[in-house]
Symmetry: C2
Subunit: 154 residues, 2 copies
């Protein structure tokens, strides 16, 4: 699965990370090749799984989601069954937008988005009382300092 990309492929990835809605013609112009091979490269990147999708970015606050919080969660047991059960619950909680399993002290980190602090607190109660959840430590975000695309290019 490891990719063998040349400089133009990297440029394509950089441009599409910066603007996922750019047209193929404009993309080709920016990376310095003609449109047909550019489109072929994009297709290849998509088919090989390097480009996994495209997403519109939205302003949560403008939509009334004023609260962004992180929660560090520790489970009482790291048995595979307990981990799987928790992962399944995470998928069902729409307030949880991102979740990573961690090594070290906490077992999971959750990034949560909610309309109000109250809504978030209600979720934390549900989270805390979820089976096998032992500890929950929350951090309220004051502001977003940086939100760059997944991979640093250039």
């Amino acid at each position: 699965m490891k990719a063998n990309l040349d400089a133009i492929d990297w440029k394509i990835l950089k441009e599409l990370q910066d603007d996922g809605r750019i047209t193929n013609v404009e993309l080709a112009r920016r990376v310095g090749i003609s449109a047909p091979p550019c489109l072929r490269r994009v297709r290849a990147l998509e088919e090989s799984g390097i480009i996994t999708g495209y997403r519109a970015l939205v302003d949560e606050k403008a939509l009334g989601f004023d609260v962004t919080m992180f929660a560090m969660v520790g489970l009482a047991s790291q048995a595979e069954a307990d981990l799987s059960a928790f992962v399944a619950r995470v998928q069902g909680w729409s307030i949880v937008r991102e979740c990573y399993m961690l090594s070290g002290e906490a077992d999971f980190i959750l990034k949560c988005v909610a309309p109000t602090l109250r809504a978030f607190q209600a979720f934390i109660e549900e989270l805390t009382s979820a089976s096998s959840v032992e500890s929950v430590k929350t951090s309220l975000t004051i502001r977003r300092v940086k939100d760059a695309p997944a991979v640093p290019i250039g």
Copy 2:
């Protein structure tokens, strides 16, 4: 700036969060209106700042960025000058992909992406010795459990 959106606008946002490269015609079909008003709505969402951009999602691991870590950073001083200085440094560190200022114990949370653990460790040394940085606590991610768009819709 607070938006006054109807059900169709929300559907548009949902679809564009799921697939930012969808054509306007297909988008219109999915949300149940014709193309012209659909395009007008998308433009309005963009111009009002609700849609802030579009981004291709890429598979970091396939590109050789095998390490994703979170770092909690505490500063010795929360004076505005020190916060600003740290924020400025964060912008310059390409390894830091996301950063939020927090309330509570830590002052910042950083999401970092690096090709190797060694590269990440080198960064942590730089981070730890940065001016006014008092504490750094890192968590290595084992796997991504969930990565949903910014706002829950539907």
